[in-house]
């Protein structure tokens, strides 16, 4: 394009490198989660260490929520919710990540040494 100078190429190259490295740094699997906290309405929070791979089932008012635990991460495998929201939350691996099953009135959250906020709102 007319009017461009070498400085433009330099700035854009540096900017692309910056953006690329930002993506790389921010989205490399960080992990750090050490335990899964299952909070269910009417029950005390239950803590499961994220050490040995296993599958657990949590009984709720609408059925059974199946949770897969692996070293450093956990996820909801199956839950009674019709929209699959709990399953679609995917692997919970950063401290603070959470999955929710409304039909079973259940919140799954992984925690680590660094205390996190519950959620972000705009």
């Amino acid at each position: 394009m007319r009017g461009l100078r070498w400085g433009d190429a330099l700035v854009v190259t540096l900017a692309v490198a910056l953006v690329g490295s930002a993506f790389g740094l921010a989205y490399t699997p960080g992990g750090g989660a050490t335990e899964l906290v299952v909070t269910q309405a009417g029950a005390a929070p239950r803590h499961y260490p994220l050490d040995v791979a296993r599958t657990i089932g949590i009984d709720g008012t609408a059925g059974v929520t199946t949770i897969r635990i692996e070293p450093g991460r956990a996820r909801c495998l199956d839950s009674p919710g019709s929209q699959g929201i709990c399953e679609r939350a995917g692997w919970l691996e950063r401290p603070g990540d959470m999955a929710v099953s409304l039909p079973n009135r259940l919140v799954l959250q992984v925690q680590g040494p660094g205390a996190g906020f519950d959620s972000m709102h705009f």
């Binding site: 394009m1 009017g3 700035v11 854009v12 953006v19 993506f23 921010a26 989205y27 906020f117 972000m120």
Partner: protein
């Protein structure tokens, strides 16, 4: 000299009015992602910088931030401080770079640098004071990518504005106020 100063003031006022108008219009456009918008008012900052000089660009930018926040009702709200932080960070980035114009850099390079600085400044304020969440940096890469894209677009727009003959007159014969 007094006439020149008054002329410069009128140009600053006109550019600030344009920038406020652009920012208000932009605020009315719904954005799918919070924090991402075209930043068309930055075109005006760049035009002010490259035609009237650094002081004029600072004046236009501050007038724009305060004026737009008055119209949008966000004065002194978090949005206002974010806007101000971004604007000041962009000006800080432009301060050393704009001297390279037009020999070594065009408005595209300036626009990209300013947009990234704008986003970074906003982010640091947001992260440091408003939402000090340890996972907030996860939002930064897409915001920076958006800044890169919008920076290129505003830069291209600025280049085409500056190549307009009516603007070129001011670029080639800058007023004496160009001392910044």
């Amino acid at each position: 000299m007094a006439t020149d100063s008054a002329t410069c003031d009128r140009r600053i006022a006109a550019l600030a009015a344009l920038a406020i108008g652009l920012q208000v219009i932009e605020a009315a456009i719904p954005s799918p992602v919070p924090g991402i918008k075209p930043g068309l008012a930055n075109v005006i900052t760049l035009v002010a910088l490259l035609t009237l000089g650094w002081r004029a660009a600072v004046a236009v930018t501050l007038l724009r931030v305060v004026g737009a926040s008055l119209l949008l009702g966000t004065l002194l709200s978090p949005g206002f401080w974010l806007s101000l932080a971004g604007a000041l960070a962009a000006l800080l980035m432009l301060t050393p770079l704009w001297r390279l114009y037009p020999g070594h850099i065009s408005a595209v390079g300036l626009g990209v640098a300013a947009a990234l600085a704008h986003t970074a400044g906003q982010f640091l304020l947001a992260w440091g004071l408003i939402i000090p969440h340890p996972q907030l940096p996860l939002l930064l890469p897409p915001l920076l990518l958006a800044a890169l894209i919008t920076g290129v677009l505003t830069g291209i727009l600025t280049n085409s504005v500056l190549s307009d003959p009516r603007i070129q007159r001011h670029v080639r014969n800058p007023p004496t106020a160009r001392t910044g």
